[in-house]
Structures are given as structure tokens and as C-alpha cells.
């Protein structure tokens, strides 16, 4: 029976995506945030790939043209990484701003400013986490939840993947 198969089809090994990590990464890069989180739950390989920050960087800047300067990457990495940036700032910002579309401004321009605003909020978030982490002095900032800093509570609460 197996030989019959080999006769009918050309000799081709079974294709498994997990053997082609670079292809997999390219595919994952094109997913939206929610799908990416779902993909991270499939298996360990997919989870590792989905946690790779470059995938999230791609997601953050997908709609931005021209792409942001290279100086952004070290800053974002220092402040917590693109995955966190997306979850804590960009996703809520985009979803909130999406609710009130203003037709006059082109989509691209708004993205750049949205990005800038998101980065600023992200930085405040990092700063507050610094305060939370510094022991007794930081505890006065209220809730001890490490994932969400209090000043960004007005955005939605992020889901930690």
C-alpha cells in the first residue's frame, strides 16, 4: 500500500511546518495580535517563536510607512520589549482610536502619532514599574500587580500571554 502511494505521487517527503522554522516565523509575522496569542498556545516551538520580540515589532509597525528609525528598537527593548508595548499600549490605543474615526487625516499620519503617543505611555509604564519594584518606597503606588502600572489603568487591562 505504501509503495502504491509512492508510485502515484512523486517522491516527496511529508511536509511539516515545524521543520521550517524560518517559514513559520514569516507566517507568524503576518498575524494580528489576537491570532499571535492563539498561535503561542499551540506548542512549545510555536510559543517560543511567538515570544520572539521581532515578530511583535513587525506587528507594531506594520501599518507605519515609512518604517520607524532604527533608534527605536533599543529604546523599546530597554523599556520592556515590543510584546509588552503592543499589549500594554498599542493595542488599546489603536482600538480606542479606531472607535472614533476622523476622516480628514490620512491613516498613515495618524499611525506615526499614535506610535509616538504609545511610546510615551509605554515609558510612563516602565517608570512606574521601576517605582513598584523598588521595595518600600514604591509600594505607595497602590496595587502591587506587576503586569499593569496604575497610570495606564485608563487603558484596558492587558492580558499577559
Amino acid at each position: 500500500m505504501v509503495h502504491h502511494h509512492h508510485h502515484c505521487k512523486e517522491k516527496r517527503p511529508k511536509f511539516c511546518i515545524n521543520d521550517h522554522v524560518d517559514v513559520l516565523a514569516e507566517i507568524l509575522k503576518r498575524l494580528d495580535g489576537r491570532s499571535l496569542c492563539v498561535a503561542a498556545c499551540v506548542c512549545r516551538l510555536w510559543s517560543a517563536l511567538a515570544r520572539n520580540d521581532s515578530v511583535w515589532e513587525h506587528l507594531c509597525f506594520r501599518h507605519l510607512s515609512p518604517p520607524p528609525p532604527s533608534s527605536v528598537r533599543p529604546v523599546v527593548s530597554a523599556l520592556g520589549g515590543y510584546r509588552r508595548l503592543y499589549m500594554v499600549c498599542i493595542r488599546p490605543v489603536l482600538s480606542r482610536l479606531g472607535r472614533s474615526r476622523r476622516a480628514e487625516l490620512p491613516w498613515r499620519v495618524r499611525s506615526r502619532e499614535e506610535l509616538q503617543l504609545s511610546l510615551s505611555l509605554f515609558c510612563v509604564d516602565y517608570y512606574e514599574r521601576l517605582g513598584n519594584g523598588s521595595g518600600g518606597g514604591g509600594s505607595r503606588f497602590g496595587d502591587g500587580s506587576a503586569s499593569a502600572s496604575s497610570s495606564l489603568m485608563f487603558l484596558c487591562k492587558p492580558v499577559n500571554v
Binding site: P69, S71, V72, P74, V75, A78, L79, P92, V93, R96, L97, R99, S100, R110, E113, E114, Q116, L117, L119, S120, L121, F122, C123, V124, Y126, Y127, E128, L130, G131, S134, G137, R140, F141, G142, S150, S151, M153, F154, L155
Partner: protein, 588 residues
């Protein structure tokens, strides 16, 4: 004096408040008692008649005081609720003998269709139940300004023989609805403020008590009830001479932080100022920011990050933060400085911090800031300048000395954010009215914007502090002296500053920031180069930017002006991290 039944004392005192003078202990047989043409003035009233009321011209048996008081209250409620009968009653009033209070009130009650109301009555101190026309006006707060000044007990004692025709036309009956309790509250607040302005402390005090009673019938968890509650407390504190409650720096910081989180005002101010500072620093490699109120330094992470992403690379950033000295040996300024330094280090921005601990801004002297002539200076004042407008006479307000030294630093930009309201008018009533409307709007927006507790409650406490200060304090203690943008423009113009227009970037950023808050109602307006944050088109916070106006000096070589061109790349070498804290020796 006739026997005074102690159990009926409260009811009688309330009922007699309008008849006698406002303090029940003073005798009213002095000059203000009316003389009825058919009533003989008794020097010694019959023993069973109540002495105080007899002095006012009314014959009421002491034993009946309680009963009469109750029936008067019922009469009042009945009159309020039966519009159609009032003209009839008013014109028929002369048929009764008002001096025999007991039978008069009984006959009045019998005239009305239904006088059995179980709901609690209006505070009986307010209207005068003895005068038919005035009693019918008891609920008519809507026409308050056109009535005889309210409540003047002495005048209410005079019972008109004929009802005044104009009073009949002004009769507006208001049913006992929640809304109208709100309106009553507002009118009561105005009356109280007016009596405070006139110096009538006893009247104001009794009004505060009555307003507190009114509050029980209003929903104090929202709307006018909540705001009124705060204002009533503030008035109460003023009358007791308590002023604002003293607050520790720690409490201030906690409240400030929650206010920052709960609503967009501070964020709007910070982001707008940062954008202006960023644009002003373009092209400079040594920059120095002076923050007049560091708090937790929440404004600066965003600026540090924006400088880090500058196309030409980040400058050397020096930050001088001014704040109150910390008790118990901690150095809060230094801690904040360390945090900011750590942030700056992670994003590779050369950073130096200096803390200046001063309990009052006017104690800071320019030399403490150690401004170098080669750097571009930005002065940042978020809700701080208005605190310099007050003083105990004969001293001048410190703003007169602070603005010049700011000017002497030759800043590249000064960013100012202030409340857009006029809470510094000399007359108390004007201030009070303005504050009432401003804080009502502010509380409304807080209600809509921030459903999260405990942020909202603490943010409200933050605002309550301001209310207490505006209403309860005077002189140097009253620091919340908000002034509107026009006055600041004039003042800063006189001090040698000229306005710097906030650009469209700042506007777009502010609009986007507001959109992030989950409520409609906020908007950003542009006002001659300044941005104001509005709630339903009522401006609340105004952010503006200023630069030192060039001073022109004539010299043989031509005109020298102080526009600086600080494009030097060589700054004196500064270590990567440098934290210093200075405490001015005049303090401590």
C-alpha cells in the same frame, strides 16, 4: 417670663427663629417688634403666654408651643403643595387674627383641601410661616432674587395687613422633588456665601446647619449633592476659623497620584508641555529643565524617551526638580532623581538630576538652580504659578519677585499649565459662585471619566482640598488663586515674556490622548496659541508656552538682543549619572 417648656424648646426655637432674632436667647422686645394697631403692648405678658413670642406680638400659650409649631410646619407644606389656593388664602388673610397664632394656624389648615402630609417639611427656619404671603413663598426659591432679602428674620416679623400685590405675582410653587432640593441647595449656598461676605456669621452658621439638613434629602453620591456637600463643609470650616486641613507632603503626593490616574487633566498638561519643550530643544545639545513641582516626576519619562528618539541623538539632559522638603529623614527628591536616572540610563540619555527642597516656591533663588549660560533652559510650571498670587498684607504677592528671576534665567521656553477659572476675585461671593460652577463641571467630568475606585474617591479628595482652600482661607494661606488665561497673558507679558504658539503636533497629541479616555465629553480647544482642555465646551485647564521676550539694548555696533543661539557641542563634561540635592538654607 412665662414658663418655657424644655421639651418643646427645639420646635419652638425653630418656629420662633423667624419671629425672634436668629439667636433665640436675645430678647426681641427691643426695637424690632411690630406694633399691631389692635394689640396692646404688654410689659408683663400673662403667665401662660410664651414670653418670647409675646415680645414679638404673638399670643401663644407655652403649653401649646409644640402643637403650634407642628401645625405651622404642616401649613407650610400644605401651602407649598396647593398652588390654586394661595391667592385665595392671601386675600383672605386679613380675616384672621394672626396674633392668636394657635387658632390662626388651625383655621388656615382647615381651609386647605388636604393638610395631612407625612413627608418631612422644609427646614422651618427658612420661610416665615406667620406671614401668609411670605409663607406661600416658602417653596418659591426660583424667584429668590426678587423677594424680600432672605431670610431676614426681623422683616419677617412684620405681618402685612394687606398682601403686597407684587408678592402675589411672584408666587411660584415648587413641589418637593429632588431637583428642587438641588435648586434650594444652590440658592442656600449663595445666600450663605452672601452672608459670609457681609460678615453675618450667625446667619451663615444657621444656614450651614439647614443646608446640612437639606443634604439628607438629596442624593449626595453624584451631581449637585456631592459638590454641595463639599462646599457646605468648606463654609462650615471657614465659619469655625479652621481654614484648610493641614496635609502632609506624603498625603499630597498620594492624592496627586490618584488625581493623575483618574482623569486626563494632568496628563494633558504634561504631554502638551513636553511637546513644546521637545520642539524648543530642537538643535540643542545641552538642555536643562527646571520643574517647579516634581512630585513623582511622572512628566519626565515621556520627555526622556522622546529625546532618546531624536533624529540627531539625545542631548545631555539636566533636570532640576523643586519640591517640598521630606520629613523623617527620607530624601524623596533624590529617590525620584535616581529613578529618572535609571530610566535615562536604559535608553542611553546622558542625564543629571538636581533636587531643590523648598516648602515655598518663593524661597527658591536662581543661584540654587545652577543654570549654565551654554544650555537651553526650560521652565515647567504645572499649576504652581497661581500659588504665588496670595500674600498677607502689607507684603506684596511673591509673583512679583519670582517672575523676574525666571526671566533672568533667559529660558528658551516656559511651559505653564493652570486651571482656567477665576478664583481670585476680591469679593467672596464672586469667588464662591465661580468655584461652585467650576468644580461642579470638574466633578461631572470625573464622574463620567473614571469609574474606577479608589482612584475616583481620592481624586475627589484632591479636589476637595482645593475647594476648602478657596472657600475657607484668606491671605497667604489661600494658595488656590486660579486665574484665567487672559490674566496670565497680561501678567506674563508685563514680566517680559511673549507667547509661544503650541503647534499642531501638540494639538493632535492632546486630541488623541483625550480620545483614549473612555468617555465622550472631553475636547481640546485652541485659544490664540494656547490649548485648553474642555469638558462639554467648558474650559477647565489651559496649557501655554512662553519665551523670554528679547530685550533690545542699543549699542554703537547695533542692536544686541538676548535671543540665544546655543548650538555649542561642547558642554562641560558631566558624568553619566549625577544626583545632587540642595536644601536652601533659609528653610529647614
Amino acid at each position: 417670663m412665662g414658663p418655657f417648656d424644655p421639651s418643646a424648646a427645639a420646635a419652638a426655637a425653630a418656629a420662633a427663629a423667624a419671629a425672634a432674632s436668629s439667636s433665640s436667647s436675645s430678647s426681641c422686645s427691643g426695637g424690632s417688634a411690630p406694633k399691631r394697631h389692635h394689640h396692646h403692648h404688654h410689659h408683663h405678658p400673662p403667665p401662660d403666654l410664651d414670653g418670647l413670642l409675646a415680645g414679638a406680638g404673638y399670643k401663644v400659650r407655652s403649653s401649646e408651643l409644640h402643637h403650634v409649631a407642628q401645625r405651622l410646619e404642616r401649613l407650610e407644606t400644605a401651602l407649598v403643595n396647593s398652588a390654586a389656593h394661595i391667592p385665595h388664602l392671601a386675600s383672605d388673610a386679613v380675616h384672621y387674627n394672626p396674633s392668636d397664632l394657635a387658632s390662626w394656624v388651625d383655621s388656615m389648615l382647615s381651609e386647605l383641601p388636604s393638610s395631612s402630609f407625612s413627608s418631612p417639611c422644609l427646614p422651618s427656619g427658612f420661610p416665615d410661616p406667620y406671614s401668609p404671603a411670605a409663607a406661600a413663598l416658602g417653596g418659591g426659591w426660583v424667584d429668590h432674587p426678587s423677594c424680600s432679602p432672605h431670610p431676614q428674620p426681623h422683616q419677617n416679623v412684620v405681618v402685612p395687613q394687606q398682601p403686597q400685590p407684587q408678592q402675589q405675582q411672584q408666587l411660584t410653587v415648587v413641589t418637593a422633588l429632588e431637583e428642587d432640593s438641588g435648586i434650594q441647595l444652590v440658592h442656600a449656598l449663595m445666600t450663605c456665601a452672601e452672608s459670609v461676605q457681609r460678615g453675618d456669621a450667625s446667619l451663615a452658621g444657621s444656614l450651614v446647619e439647614e443646608m446640612r439638613a437639606l443634604l439628607t434629602r438629596v442624593d449626595t453620591s453624584r451631581g449637585i449633592g456631592k459638590v454641595a456637600g463639599y462646599f457646605i463643609d468648606a463654609l462650615g470650616r471657614r465659619l469655625l476659623g479652621l481654614g484648610s486641613a493641614p496635609a502632609s507632603a506624603f498625603e499630597n503626593e498620594v492624592l496627586y497620584h490618584h488625581f493623575y490616574e483618574a482623569c486626563p487633566y494632568l496628563k494633558f498638561a504634561h504631554f502638551t508641555a513636553n511637546q513644546a519643550i521637545l520642539e524648543a530643544f530642537d538643535g540643542h545639545d545641552c538642555v536643562h529643565v527646571i520643574d517647579f513641582n516634581l512630585m513623582h516626576g511622572l512628566q519626565w519619562p515621556a520627555l526622556i524617551q522622546a529625546l532618546a528618539l531624536r533624529p540627531r541623538g539625545p542631548p545631555l539632559l539636566r533636570l532640576t526638580g523643586i519640591g517640598p522638603p521630606s520629613p523623617d529623614g527620607r530624601d524623596v527628591l533624590r529617590e525620584i532623581g535616581l529613578r529618572l536616572a535609571e530610566l535615562a540610563r536604559s535608553v542611553n540619555v546622558r542625564f543629571a538630576f538636581r533636587g531643590v527642597a523648598a516648602s515655598r516656591l518663593e524661597d527658591v533663588k536662581p543661584w540654587m538652580l545652577q543654570v549654565s549660560p551654554k544650555e537651553a533652559v526650560a521652565v515647567n510650571s504645572i499649576m504652581q504659578l497661581h500659588r504665588l498670587l496670595g500674600s498677607d498684607p502689607p507684603r506684596d504677592p511673591p509673583i512679583g519677585s519670582v517672575l523676574p528671576w525666571i526671566r533672568s534665567l533667559n529660558p528658551k521656553i516656559m511651559t505653564v499649565a493652570e486651571q482656567e477659572a477665576n478664583h481670585n476675585r476680591p469679593g467672596f461671593l464672586d469667588r464662591f459662585t465661580e468655584a461652585l460652577y467650576y468644580y461642579s463641571t470638574l466633578f461631572d467630568s470625573l464622574e463620567a471619566a473614571c469609574p474606577v475606585q479608589p482612584d475616583k474617591a481620592l481624586a475627589e479628595m484632591y479636589l476637595q482640598r482645593e475647594i476648602c482652600n478657596i472657600v475657607g482661607c484668606e491671605g497667604a494661606a489661600r494658595v488656590e488663586r486660579h486665574e484665567p488665561l487672559d490674566r496670565w497673558r497680561a501678567r506674563l507679558g508685563r514680566a517680559g515674556f511673549r507667547p509661544l504658539h503650541l503647534g499642531s503636533n501638540a494639538f493632535k497629541q492632546a486630541s488623541m490622548l483625550l480620545t483614549l479616555f473612555s468617555t465622550e465629553g472631553y475636547s481640546v480647544e485652541e485659544n490664540e496659541g494656547c490649548l485648553t482642555l474642555c469638558w462639554h465646551s467648558r474650559p477647565l485647564i489651559a496649557a501655554s508656552a512662553w519665551q523670554a521676550a528679547p530685550t533690545v539694548v542699543n549699542s554703537p555696533a547695533g542692536v544686541i538682543n538676548h535671543d540665544d543661539n546655543n548650538n555649542q557641542l561642547s558642554c562641560s563634561p558631566v558624568p553619566m549619572l549625577s544626583i545632587e540635592t540642595d536644601i536652601p538654607s533659609s528653610i529647614q
